[in-house]
Amino acid sequence: MNKIPPTTCDVTDWLYSDIVKDHFFNPRNLLLDDKDYVADGLGVAGSPLCGDMMVVWINVDKETNKITECKWRTFGCASAIASTSMMSVMATENGGMAIATAKRMTPESIIDRLGGLPDRKYHCSVLGHEALRKAVTDYEENLNEKNGK
């Protein structure tokens, strides 16, 4: 029998984990209309020209310095949606992530929680991580401004 040569679509590296599929079809913490949403910090990463754009809003408990809400919206692919959805879960679960810890969140930790991503989709997890990092920076700058620093 002639064996049909594999195509790129047959390669297992292209497969998404069940967790990725779940977060793509049921994204958590998505904010479609931000008109009336008030956030402590805002982060934007990517560009629609590049194919992926990410916006992240965070709210922070000023007493504990932990993230209470992490909302997001993206113009991006399935991996970008799943990565950012997972990032938002990690930032808010178990009482909220401390700001100091959120600064250290890595694309690798997001991908690990997703059960892996194809290497060629790595940049999608970077976008969510970068937008969160920018939102944290924005929060800290707003706080310093408010405190007159």
């Binding site: 990517g46 560009s47 020209l49 590049c50 194919g51 100091a100 810890t101 600064k103 250290r104 890595t106 694309p107 690798e108 930790s109 991908i111 690990d112 290497d119 790595y122 940049h123 970077v126 970068e130 990092r133």
Partner: protein, 232 residues
């Protein structure tokens, strides 16, 4: 996307067979940047409208720095073919691959061209926090591939109490202080166990960074102490 500016190429220097360092400068308002950050370079004619990112490998002045580029395709070839005086469209430096602490020890783990940001981080640290301990683990395929080899030897001579480098060669037999094979995670953990407040920085290919991120985590290093920068 970060705001784009026009850089002028001031120098192009060959480092190893296919690795070059470009010195870039720009005119205009100074916006602070630091070691560990990168720029996104744009050559839209190559079809990469999103551009490609390159880490700063040395900070020269508030408006001048170097990037170190490995020639691997059309985009990077275009970059290394630039001549002194040529203009280049790229972003301001950005990114978060740096420590916010002046006290921590730095454990830097790099594969191949992933050394680029570490060159700048080491130089910045030696200048601003000269007592901070730094250990570099650097993996290459062959000895000829070691980038900035002479610079590492110079820094060791100048800062023997502060800076230590461990070279690993994966695709040829080596002797004399250089080790064969990949960097064992156990070496990293062993050498960092007596450091005060160590922070671990990983830079290299996606696979390299992922494997060492897992290895360090499995070895008991807290995630909050691990910074990653994967080249893709």
């Amino acid at each position: 996307m970060e705001n784009n500016i026009i850089y002028t190429v001031k120098e192009v220097k060959k480092e190893t067979g296919n690795v070059f360092t470009l010195t870039l400068s720009y005119d205009g308002a100074v916006k602070p940047f630091r070691a560990g950050q990168y720029i996104t370079v744009f050559f839209p004619e190559t079809g990469h409208v999103e551009g490609k990112s390159y880490s700063i490998s040395n900070i020269i002045s508030p408006t001048s720095f170097t990037i170190t580029v490995k020639s691997i395709g059309v985009f990077s070839n275009k970059l290394i073919d630039l001549k002194v005086g040529d203009k280049l469209s790229a972003s301001f430096p950005y990114g978060y691959f740096y420590t916010e602490s002046d006290e921590s020890s730095l454990v830097l783990i790099s594969g191949g061209i992933g050394i680029a940001p570490f060159k700048a981080i080491i130089q910045e640290s030696l200048l601003k926090t000269p007592n901070r301990k730094i250990i570099l683990f650097y993996s290459n395929k062959t000895q000829k591939d070691i980038i900035f080899k002479n610079e590492w030897e110079d820094i060791i001579m100048k800062y023997p109490e502060t800076f230590r480098v461990n070279h690993y060669i994966t695709q040829e037999h080596v002797e004399g202080g250089i080790k064969s094979g990949r960097i064992p995670v156990s070496d990293i953990i062993e050498q960092s166990k007596n450091l005060s407040d160590p922070e671990f920085f990983l830079c290299g290919s996606i696979t390299f960074v992922r494997d060492y991120w897992r290895g360090l985590k499995d070895g008991g290093i807290p995630e909050i102490s691990i910074y990653t920068e994967a080249f893709f």
